[in-house]
């Protein structure tokens, strides 16, 4: 399935946001709790990741809070 992930066209097998996110954790050791997921311009709370189905062409942004003034 082709999606736009943080602005990059990406091929993914993940069926849900949870699959996608957990995959990235193991790949990149991200801090799950710090993750903000925007799915097709809507923020999806972590409790809903399990049910959030990814479809071909979806736009997904994985964000987190950083230091700023």
């Amino acid at each position: 399935m082709k999606i736009s992930l943080n602005g990059k066209n990406t091929e993914t097998q993940s069926r849900t946001l949870m699959d996608l996110v957990t995959g990235l954790i193991t790949d990149q050791g991200l801090d799950l709790k710090s993750l903000v997921v925007e799915h097709n311009l809507k923020v999806v709370p972590s409790v809903a990741w399990e049910k959030a189905l990814i479809q071909d062409g979806d736009t997904i942004e994985l964000l987190s809070f950083v230091g700023g003034g």
Binding site: L30, S34, F65, G68
Partner: protein, 260 residues
């Protein structure tokens, strides 16, 4: 003149006893942030939102901010009102609360804000129930428009961000303090506690300091210094000090000693 006893700052429906706002940028180590917050007494701190950087192994910055401190997400990175609005909504839905610092910058050389886009974003977000604190170029006309747009405060810059040059825009900020119907928070450029105190003596309602604290060789002591300075400046404002005088006047009796 406010009551000296019960002198607090209210933004949204939150009451702040500290008039020093701080930021989370530029710290050599995130673990300094909670200590700086305690030393400075600051009750509001800014954070930014960015795409996850896979190379960045740091854990959640929010973990370093006590619940007693109000989060002030900023819209840094936004170059239009629309982008600022999108960031603000994400921040709120991500659980960061209703406060938002609007920061729309198109000038990448001096990093000075775009007042018009800032005004447009303020209008939209205030309607959506945000407590909007717009970072702005000191400007009287825009100050009034931001009030009409529903801003909770105005945040004119003292000097370009990160320069530590202090109140370069002092004359304009003094005028803003005179005309503004909402609190005035001096943001950006404050590099010394004396400059923070000066802003408060002028009648500013608060100051926001990040770079000067985070980049000092001892951010905890610096935070404490700014905390004291902001208190000092506010007290001076409340105790109505005498104006500058052109003529010298003796503090000891002027009679010569053993003369009449």
């Amino acid at each position: 003149m406010p009551d000296k006893q019960t002198d607090t700052l209210i933004l949204g429906d939150v009451e702040f006893s500290s008039r020093l706002f701080t930021g989370t940028g530029k710290f050599s180590s995130r673990s300094l942030i909670p200590q700086m917050l305690e030393a400075s007494g600051s009750q509001m701190i800014t954070v930014a939102l960015r795409r996850v950087d896979p190379s960045d192994r740091q854990d959640n910055i929010l973990n370093y901010i006590p619940d007693t401190v109000t989060l002030l997400p900023n819209t840094s990175g936004a170059r239009t009102a629309q982008e600022a609005v999108r960031i603000a909504r994400i921040a709120r839905e991500a659980g960061c609360g209703r406060f938002i610092k609007i920061e729309v910058i198109t000038d990448m050389q001096y990093l000075l804000p775009d007042n018009h886009e800032t005004l447009l974003a303020t209008e939209i977000l205030a309607k959506e129930g945000f407590v909007v604190l717009p970072y702005m170029m000191p400007d009287i006309t825009v100050t009034k428009q931001l009030y009409d747009a529903g801003a909770a405060a105005v945040m004119p810059l003292g000097a370009p961000i990160g320069t530590n040059r202090g109140l370069e825009m002092k004359p304009m900020i003094e005028m803003i303090i005179q005309v503004s119907k909402i609190p005035v928070v001096v943001d950006a450029g404050i590099g010394r506690p004396s400059q923070a105190a000066e802003a408060m003596e002028m009648g500013a309602d608060a100051v926001l300091v990040n770079t000067a604290i985070a980049t000092s060789q001892d951010p905890i002591l610096s935070g404490k210094a700014f905390g004291y300075a902001v208190k000092a400046g506010r007290m001076a404002y409340l105790s109505r000090m005498a104006e500058e005088k052109l003529k010298a006047s003796a503090s000891s009796p002027l009679t010569g000693f053993l003369r009449d």
